[in-house]
């Protein structure tokens, strides 16, 4: 029996039991269903993506000309601060949490997360913090950059900076609560027939991500609380006028905020490892290497933070140590990239929106990876630190990487979440516009930085105008690219073609239940009958009990019947 036949049988067996479904009102309540929470996270994060994106286009409009002729310099700094903070803490990180919430229990055959109430609590901390932060632009927004280095941050508006600190503390707490949940759920709630090494790679990447959140975020909270004392109570932890040391803040801040890069990219590494095998119809190449490289990245990510401080108050030995550790991260990251390429190689690739964004992810992220090794080199970083070269680098990682990954995930799991297919032509238009806009916006920034354009400036040397105009045009194309996506999502959710339970013939567990899944996910807990990526492998006939099942542990469930 071919796999497709096996799967279609599985599917038809589910069609007889359409479980109870959520009503739209549920999505506006304190609901403890991980699927509801996942979608709440995703929708909210996309709203903030829109807000942060509008800010980005305002910034690019200001930078179309060398003079400060569009917004005031104060407003410009508020925009760049909010843009950075929102995109990191209210877009990419919550979008990752949304995917993790939705997918982890389904992928490991659980009925919910380990701590459903805490899960809902974690989500509901986001809207107040996010709305406060976004609205601060109307009265007094923070303007010391998303890094908020003292002494500048404690000398510009107290209200704005206070809001920034407060919001980040709330968002950080939410992130910790989420991570505790992911970590516990993945480790303890897998179906008994699933050892760690049969777990989908997305779960591995979330395991690594959660560990980073749990180790890093408390340190950020510490830095923020001390900064708040300096700001509001006049202490001098970081204030040199009172004998404080602003460099200590930088160490504490980056101890979290470098790992934050991996908190933002690792979940999407996981997503890509899921999507590529399904649409290439091949097993993932080097499962264990990819799984362990997530852990390696997570560990190394904790000992590289001072690479953000190569021109700051760091002595030579420190600069050299952090240069080497940073460069070493290229090795596990390279393993992932090459494994994805090898998975696609020789496959039968379905060029749909999900797969195109996944391939775009690999192609764009690798550019950020290459420039990442470059900026790790101390003598070179001394030249480009705090320039547009770094702006280019980080956007290739976080836009070309994370954002492409999130779009790939949405296109891939949309049928799971809604039971309907996306409109492929619109999705492909979205992909092409995003690809062009992204490269037009960020590629010229490499040259700008190398030539001498520093970042976070509203006015610049007129010699840089032509390239800046290109960047601005690119950013407008990115704005336009949101339209086909929005139309597609809304239209497909309401009127899209029925998807069936498993439109991609995927093998991971989340596809072995109905789409959208019933409230309790699985009528009977599933039993693993094949590995998550066993494409093209001769599968065990249905009537033979799969070797991994131990009936004592699974009293109620027989294999997917």
């Amino acid at each position: 029996m071919t796999q497709a036949e096996a799967l279609s049988e599985t599917r038809s067996s589910h069609d007889h039991h359409p479980g109870p479904q959520r009503k739209w009102q549920d999505y506006f309540t304190f609901n403890t269903d991980h699927k509801v929470i996942g979608i709440q996270y995703l929708v909210l994060s996309f709203i903030f993506f829109g807000i942060g994106g509008i800010m980005a286009d305002l910034i690019r409009t200001e930078l179309k000309t060398p003079a400060t002729d569009f917004v005031s310099p104060e407003m410009y700094n508020q925009l760049l601060t909010l843009h950075g903070t929102i995109m990191i803490f209210l877009w990419i990180i919550p979008a990752g949490s949304g995917l993790a919430n939705y997918l982890i229990p389904l992928m490991i055959g659980a009925r919910d997360m380990a701590f459903p109430k805490m899960n809902a609590l974690a989500f509901w901390m986001l809207p107040p913090a996010g709305i406060l932060l976004a609205l601060s632009i109307l009265f007094d927004a923070p303007q010391a950059g998303w890094t908020s280095y003292p002494p500048l941050s404690i000398m510009t508006g107290k209200v704005g900076e206070g809001i920034w600190i407060f919001s980040l503390l709330v968002l950080g707490t939410s992130s910790i609560l989420g991570a505790i949940n992911f970590f516990t759920t993945i480790l303890l709630m897998r179906v008994p027939s699933m050892p760690l090494t049969a777990m989908p790679l997305f779960c591995w990447s979330m395991l690594a991500t959660s560990a980073l959140i749990l180790i890093g975020t408390p340190v950020l909270a510490g830095a923020l609380i001390l900064l708040a004392f300096d700001l509001l109570a006049g202490t001098a932890f970081f204030n040199p006028t009172g004998g404080g040391d602003p460099i200590v803040y930088q160490h504490m801040f980056w101890f979290y905020s470098h790992p934050a890069v991996y908190i933002m990219i690792l979940p999407l590494f996981g997503v890509i490892s899921e999507i590529i095998p399904v649409h290439s119809r091949k097993p993932i190449f080097g499962y264990l290497a990819i799984a362990y490289s997530s852990l390696a990245i997570s560990f190394l990510g904790l000992i590289v933070w001072a690479h953000h401080m190569f021109t700051s108050g760091t002595p030579a030995w420190l600069r050299m140590f952090f240069m080497i550790t940073t460069m070493v991260i290229a090795v596990p990251t390279g393993i992932k990239v090459f494994s994805w390429l090898a998975t696609m190689w020789g496959g039968k690739i379905a060029l749909n929106s999900a797969m195109l964004f996944a391939m775009g992810f690999v192609g764009e992220f690798v550019i950020g990876g290459i420039s990442g090794v470059m900026v790790a080199s101390v003598p070179f970083d001394i030249h480009v630190h705090d320039t547009y070269f770094v702006v280019a680098h980080l956007h290739y990682v976080l836009f070309g990487g994370s954002v492409f990954g999130i779009f790939a995930a949405i296109y891939h799991w949309f049928p799971k979440m809604t039971g309907r297919m996306v409109n492929e032509p619109l999705g492909i238009v979205h992909f092409i516009l995003t690809l062009i806009g992204m490269n037009l916006t960020f590629m010229p920034m490499h040259a700008l930085g190398l030539q001498g354009m520093n970042r976070r400036i509203a006015l610049y040397d007129p010699q840089f105008q032509p390239l800046n105009e290109l960047c601005t045009i690119g950013s407008y194309i990115l704005a336009v690219s949101a339209l086909p996506f929005l139309v597609n999502m809304i239209w497909s959710w309401i009127k899209g073609r029925e998807a069936g339970d498993n439109p991609w013939n995927a093998l991971t567990l989340e596809w072995q239940t109905s789409s959208p899944p019933a409230i309790e996910n699985f009528e009977t807990l599933p039993v693993l009958r094949w590995g998550p990526y066993d494409y093209g492998v001769e599968r065990i006939p249905e009537d033979i009990e799969p070797p991994l099942t131990s009936p004592e542990l699974q009293p109620e469930s027989s294999a997917l019947s």
Binding site: K282, G313, M323, M344, V366, M374
Partner: protein, 331 residues
Amino acid sequence: MLAGIALTLVSIWYGQHHGLMPVQASEDAALVDGLFDTMMIVGTGIFLLVEGVILICLFKFRRRPGDDTDGPPIAGNIPLEILWTAIPVVIVLVIGVYSFEVYRIEGGFDPEAAEQSPIQVAMVSNSDVSTPLMAPQHKGHHHLALGVGATPDEMTTAPDLTVNVLGLQYAWIFTYPDTGVTTGELHLPAGKDVKLVIKAQDVLHAFWLPQFRLKQDAIPGQDAELRFTPQRVGEYPIICAELCGPYHGAMGSKLYVQEADEFDQWLQQQVASQSNADSTVALQPSEPTDADYLSAMADHVGVDASVLERLPHTLSSPSELVPVSLVGPQG
């Protein structure tokens, strides 16, 4: 095979002809560019390889209509995986060692800064200038050598010229301690071993010379240095590269690298004009208001009038502009 050779050749060519770097105004700059070119060669190679594979997959391995069978079940290949782990390890090792060497030759490991600081502390406390910002910090940090110091050859010799650089919102102020000259733009003699001692008065700034590939943050309470030999006569931008407030983008100045005799001439002129004009700023920091203080500097610094106009609002509290010795340790 053929594609591999073509890819290698293209990478090697592009790595050296990207034309992305500005003019090289010192030997350090040439050194850094050599490193960058090498990374560009490797980077271009990896870029072409990855994008090439993706394009091949896009065209050659796309699913044909009507074919819904799976691809070959290849789940790994240990030798191949070892290869693509080992190659990045080697690349990283080579770039790491190369970077280390460039940093060493530039003077990154110069221990002088560590030796220097206690002397500076002594000097500062001897001078009668009140330095509330500087005094307590020196004790805590004199063990850190910050910035780029002397090249290994120059380690034992004193620099030909020392200039104190002070960053403040939103200007750079340069003081030549040997003569007491204070200016808003930096003049340096070509071919001389120059040491800049970099301080900040209010917030973090960063002193960046793109044509010299040198940058160092100016940190309140913590001295840093950049030591280098300008080789190429000309006019170069000085840029503040660390966000320091709304007018951060306007905080810049000019570096003029001059032939040694021209530089001497310029310095004499400055000595002459400053001894009968505003030596108060340099030698007796009374307490000028922010606006007075900065407008005196304005023509040197090249901050435009609209920026100055707004300064009193951004620097409202007098404590933000503490008078600091603009002269530094007197020789």
